[in-house]
Amino acid sequence: MAKPRNEINPIVVVGGGAAGITAALDLANAGRAVHLIERTPILGGQVSRLDKLYPTDHCAFCPLWTEVRLCRQHPLITVHTLSYLKDITSQDHAIYAAIVDKPHIIDENRCIFCGRCVDVCPLGAIQSMGEHVYPPSYVIDADACNGCGECMQVCPTGAINIHRQEQEIVIAADQVIWATGFGDADISPLEEYGYGTHPDIMSSLEFEEWIAEAGTNKGAIITRHNGSTPRSIAFIQCAGARDKRMFPYCSAVCCMHALKQAQWVKRRSPSVACVIFYTDLRTEGRHYYEYYLREIQDSSLTLIRGRPGLIHPLPSGEGIAVRYEDTLNQTREMQRFDMVVLNGALQPSLTMPGITGHVPALNEEGFLDEGNGLYSACGFCKEPGDVETSVAQASSAALHTCLEREGNGR
């Protein structure tokens, strides 16, 4: 589609996770103006909310945080948090993007993190944005707020204004890059996994939060039902993924994610036995296989090839039963675990329930259909992949946007 060659309009990047931030920075460093739109109050996405990353075992927020900081500082990037893309229309060879900015009741630029508002809120609707959000700020859940205004009375800087309204702006853009990533899917329809039947049957992202060093348990490995140290934890791979009933695709990151979680469980609580139930152990990335080898050298990590057929709580607090076939021995087994982590059910954010705003054309698996060339995509919304892959795709998407500008398509 030909664009007026003299016009240099900004680029809209939808999604402020690893991929979105990378695309925004690359474009800005190449001289393009960018509007970076993020649904949640903070930039960094799913990856920054993890506890640790593989294969480096870094804290997850740190590599993202420096990039987020660069995004916020860059004169060419306008960051919109608590925002969504309402609509895209094209007219006269230009794209018009309607962006809705939901109100920031607490202005992060004026919050000094004194916490006086938290003390007076009757509903507990005020929370810190996150342990690793810099500068630190509080955020009010607009849906939970009852408008009493107590917080406004005590805020010393005038950062709080409960009357702030949603704003909509329309900008002429040259391109839209989608980087909306993934969400934690609800696996309860697949009843055999027992999700929801026991507090210690969790999704892998829930488990990540549960064992996070910066989380409520401060890194301690304890059960959710009674706070004791578990004797054993089962990681169930491909739960919901590679499954015609739910997600036929492979989520690409779960094998390494489980290995990483098992590794950290072991580091913090060496007595816990971890068992990973897998189908294919996908460790093709850079140095991933070695990460796996280092782990299996320790005998308390066991790998069993098989997808469990039934997971259910045992009576009166005896734990959780996992019934499976050990396909390498052709034996049917049942093992008792104190905790079960279900790994696999990650779905593209644009298909998550309750998502607002414009949703572009998606293929039958929920990934972006880039066929019409109006926009491009990077990261999980295009194809499940790890951080390195998603970030390379983001740079590539930024490049193609620059190429469009020069009037040269692919």
């Binding site: 480096t56 740190c62 993190f113 342990e131 060093e213």
Partner: protein, 165 residues
């Protein structure tokens, strides 16, 4: 530039005076993991022992044994060097060298009579607020259990310092 002699600030309660007289520590904190932990302690309003001072450095690798020895010569009871976990250094594993260097220094400290217990190193174990608090608290407890820094040992360090003040 002379060496300052410790005095408490006048007019405190007994408890505060005791704290004033208690062990003193310098914490070299790398501006990544370590400072994040220290900052986290502040954000979460964790109450910490009074007598430590943080010197921020870009990387734990910047910390010279010379500075550590100098600190002891000034009557500081303990020195901590906090950096990122091995494999997590922002400066391409510079912290590996720091670790090796500090392990060697530990042996030297034992040899001259200062004692290796006065050097705290933490690579990647103090980056959360509760970890920083725990490590600092543990260090102070150890320091309180040690006898005061021997005058002779302090004097012996002055010859070892690289720079003229």
């Amino acid at each position: 530039m002379g060496i300052r002699i410790s005095h408490g600030i006048e007019g405190h309660s007994h408890g505060e005076q005791r704290e004033q007289r208690g062990p003193k520590a310098i914490i070299f904190a790398c501006r990544w993991c370590a400072l994040i932990g220290a900052d986290g302690a502040g954000k979460n309003r964790v109450q910490l022992p009074l007598n430590f001072r943080v010197i921020p450095v870009e990387c734990a690798a910047r910390v010279e044994p010379d500075s550590i020895i100098r600190a002891f010569s000034y009557g500081i009871d303990g020195v901590g060097v906090l950096g990122c976990h091995l494999g997590g250094c922002r400066y391409h594993n510079a912290n590996h060298r720091a670790l090796k260097r500090l392990d060697l220094l530990r042996k030297l400290l034992d040899t001259v009579g200062i004692g290796s217990g006065r050097l705290l190193t933490s690579f990647g174990t103090a980056h959360e607020y509760h970890q920083f608090a725990a490590i600092l608290g543990g260090f102070f407890q150890e320091l309180r259990g040690l006898p005061p820094l021997d005058e002779w040992a302090r004097a012996s360090t002055i010859g070892a310092i690289k720079y003229d003040p």
